[in-house]
Every structure is written in structure tokens, then in C-alpha cells.
Symmetry: C2
Subunit: 280 residues, 2 copies
């Protein structure tokens, strides 16, 4: 599919892309770019890439596909560093979870000879690092590709084929539509999980059963990564939080008023939505 | 351990108590009491009890231990129906999740010849019914027994041994302390999960990944049961919701102000609590 793929940032997601692309033989050569010698060694040891280097321009040069899999707060900066070294008609993409601010900034930054298409594979783990990378992490996961006025049709189709080959179900959305949906489906659950964990104390956790365990699992996710996601997607995260707070308030008021009908109505509607999410 | 145990309400919890007590041979006879002929047949088919009847007075008569495992909204009423038929020095207990209102009401209701001890096994599932009952459901789960001024010491010790034999880790608390802790560790996660499900829409759920799936699972729980729990434990549930809303507001304000230090501080504190809950 490609002669050379460069993956910038060989962590959980970058490493998994490497493993999956190698397994499905999607490239003749996969080069990983790391920031530190220690992470370069870990990348090589994991066999997620054919070779790894600290030299970004060298790795990017001649690549048909450059995937920025660095922490979301660094994506735009790194795109700037890549763009100048990339060959004509190559594809630049990322895996950052916030699309509107990233896509806007990068489209301004890169010249027309490079085709930038934003991507967000909805896969991951509360564990990070290339040691936790797996070739099957994208299997049946949704991957969103962003379509803008500037996006090249052919590049979009090629990247779509790439992500399908990794096992994903690809959805093409505008960056704005992506951010609205991702805020509700991913950033909000994380914010709520963090807030729920903050509300517990040493005595309450002694009674932790399945519900609390389920609902605080994602609060073990990397604070640095999530600080960046919350800041980058600020507007849409805040809208999701406000919308959630209104629904919780409705339930609170119904309990306070002992309004049995309203409580039942809310819980039944929620149950229906939950069953839809779990494919029941 | 007992000659005769009567279980009122042979559903998920009542059925699991029956299966676990039979497996560990804790009684010569276990009688299930059902409200309808159809549930009586299901109880017998499940083999969770030795026999099942619709005749509550007959089942309760001569029992050393009577366990009320009916929906939480019915516990007090059923305790009233049981108390008069029970033999001297027998133990009456329940499995209702709200302890302060139940224990207060039942202690007023029963005569001194019957020893009432409230119980709340922190086990369950979003699935209900005797078909989902399992003998190992209480294994390593916390079971709270309530201690009040009126509680009989010997009965409390006997019931403690019973729940330990079912595999639980027993914790003895005042009804008030139980309700505060359970509100934070169980009712709040449920309320939050219901509100989170209500906030989703047909477009957002197409992006559902692990976090949303984890956090909306308990919103599939029975609306009728949870309406009763929310109403019975109203005060302590509302306090937990208010406390949670404050923490979410803190995070919201920090994101709005782009206060990186505060966001990181909150997420790190939450991560630590989450890791504690998951025994990391």
C-alpha cells in the first residue's frame, strides 16, 4: 500500500499502528521517530517499527505516509516540523483526539504539495507506552477521518483504505461534527469519571462494587494527556459537561420532589440509550 | 448452621443466597417465598431453593433465619408480615440497599422476640431474575451488617458467620454510616451513569469506545429498583450528587480558565483515588 511510513511518536497508538501495519504488510518500510534515546530503544525492542531514529527530517523524507502519534498537545508543532521535509503528494495525518483546532492549525501550516487528513482512532487504554501496543487494538474500533474543503479526495480515500486495513470502521466527518460527538462519547465520560473519583473518600471506597469500579476505571488515564485534550477541545467539552449537568440536575430535582413518574421516565430513557450503546 | 432458612423473593440476590447456602450446606432446608405462581415455578426450576411456596406465614414459621430479598421498596411491609409468624430468637434480615429508613421502620415494627439485623450485600448485576443467580456472586464482595442499640449481639455474630460462609467480607456499620458510604460508592455512580446515558444522542453513540461503554453499563439496571433506592435513600443520595456536582464544576471552571495547574492537580488526585479503588 505504501513504500515508506513514518510514525512520529512510538507509544501505545503509534506502536499499535506499526504492529498492525507490519502484520498486514501495508508498507515496505516503517520508520519510528522518537524524542529520546531511551524511547528509541523501547520502540526497537517492541518490534513495532522496522527501525527507529531521533532524526525527524531523515525519517519523514521520502515517506508516502507520515503519522503523527505524539501527545495531542504537540501535534501542530510537529506537523510544522514535518511538512517542509515531506515529498510531493505524500499524506500527513495524525491520531489526535481533538480535530477542529488541530485540523485548522495544520491546514494553515502545510503547503499544498502535502495532503493533510486528520484522523482519530477511537481506541486506546488507560495504560500507555509501546509496551502495551497491540496489533489488534483497532479491530472493530471506529476511526474518524476529517473532511474539509481543503482535503484532497484521493488522499482521503487512500487513508480510508489504510485504516480499514488496520481493522477499523472508518467514519468521515467534518472536524466540528467530530469534536461534538467525541466530546459526548469520550471526553465527557472521562471528565465525569475524574469527578466521580474525586468525590470518593477512604471510607466510601471500602464499599466499592462493580458500579464504582466500572465508572472510575478511565480516571486512571494519563493526567497530562487528558489535560491537553480538555484544553484543546475546551469549547465542545464544556458544552458536553453543561448538558450532562442539566440531566443530572433533572434527576436530582425529581428525587428531591419524590416525583416517582419523572424518576422512572428519566431512568427508562437512560436504560434505553444504554442498551443501544451496548448493542442489546 | 441453621435448620430452616426462608428466603422471601427468589430473584437475583435471593436466588444467589439460596444457591450459595445450598452449596455450602448452611441449612437443612431452604424455602423460597414467591408472589406469583410463575415466579414460584422459575424458583424451583433454578434449584436455588429446596422448595418454593406462595404461603409466606407457612414458610416463615419455624425458620431460624428469614431473609427478605424482595425489591427494596417492599422490605418494610414484608417484614411486618413476617414478624408475627416467626419463632422466638429467630433472625430476620434483609438485603435492601438503603439501611437507615429500613432499619428504623423495621425495628419499630418487630417485637423483641425476633432479632432484626439489616444487611446489604454489595453484589449484583445489571441483569435481574433468578435465571442470573450464581452461587459465587458474594465471593469477595463486601456485605454490610447494621449495628444499632437494639441489635442483638448474638444474632449479629450468627449472621456475620452466615455471610462470611457465603464468601463475603463482612463490615459492621451504623445504618447512617452505611447510607453515606453506599451513596458515594453505589447510588452516585448509578445516578451519574443514568445522567451520562441521557446526555448521549444517536450521533454520539456511533463513536462509543471503551470509556462510554464502561460508564453507561450500570444505566441498564432496573429503573423500578433504582427509583425505589433513590427515593428511600433520598437525603444521602442528594448529598452525594451535590458533592459530585461541585467536583465536576471545579474541573469545568479550570478548563474554562485554561488553568493547566489546577486541571493537572484535579486529574492527578482523581487518578490516585481511581488506582486505590482498583487496587493498583
Amino acid at each position: 500500500m505504501f513504500d515508506k511510513i513514518a510514525i512520529i511518536g512510538v507509544g501505545l497508538i503509534g506502536g499499535s499502528i506499526g504492529l498492525a501495519a507490519k502484520k498486514r504488510r501495508l508498507a515496505k518500510e516503517i520508520v519510528g521517530v522518537c524524542r529520546r534515546e531511551s524511547s528509541r530503544r523501547r520502540a526497537i525492542k517492541s518490534k513495532a517499527v522496522d527501525r527507529a531514529t531521533l532524526d525527524l527530517p531523515e525519517a519523514v523524507k521520502g515517506a508516502d505516509l507520515v503519522v503523527i502519534a505524539s501527545p495531542v498537545g504537540k501535534v501542530t508543532e510537529i506537523a510544522g516540523a514535518c511538512a517542509g521535509c515531506m515529498k510531493k503528494n505524500s499524506i500527513l495525518t495524525d491520531v489526535g483526539s481533538s480535530k477542529e483546532p488541530i485540523v485548522k492549525a495544520i491546514e494553515k501550516l502545510v503547503s499544498k504539495k502535502v495532503n493533510f487528513i486528520g484522523a482519530h482512532p477511537m481506541a486506546g487504554s488507560d495504560k500507555s507506552g509501546v509496551e502495551n501496543a497491540r496489533a489488534d487494538i483497532f479491530k472493530n474500533a471506529v476511526c474518524i477521518l476529517t473532511k474539509t474543503r481543503r482535503a484532497d479526495r484521493k488522499a482521503l480515500l487512500r487513508l480510508k483504505r489504510f485504516w480499514k486495513s488496520l481493522g477499523s470502521r472508518v467514519l468521515v466527518l467534518s472536524p466540528e461534527e467530530h469534536d461534538m460527538r467525541a466530546s459526548l462519547a469520550s471526553y465527557l465520560p472521562h471528565a465525569v469519571s475524574y469527578a466521580l473519583s474525586l468525590t470518593q473518600n477512604g471510607r466510601s471506597v471500602k464499599l466499592a462494587a462493580g458500579s464504582l469500579k466500572d465508572m472510575t476505571r478511565v480516571a486512571s488515564s494519563d493526567p497530562g494527556l487528558w489535560k491537553d485534550i480538555f484544553l484543546l477541545s475546551g469549547g465542545s467539552v464544556l458544552r458536553a459537561v453543561v448538558s450532562f449537568a442539566k440531566n443530572l440536575k433533572k434527576l436530582e430535582i425529581a428525587i428531591k420532589r419524590r416525583d416517582e413518574k419523572m424518576i422512572l421516565k428519566l431512568l427508562r430513557r437512560a436504560k434505553k440509550m444504554s442498551e443501544g450503546i451496548h448493542g442489546k
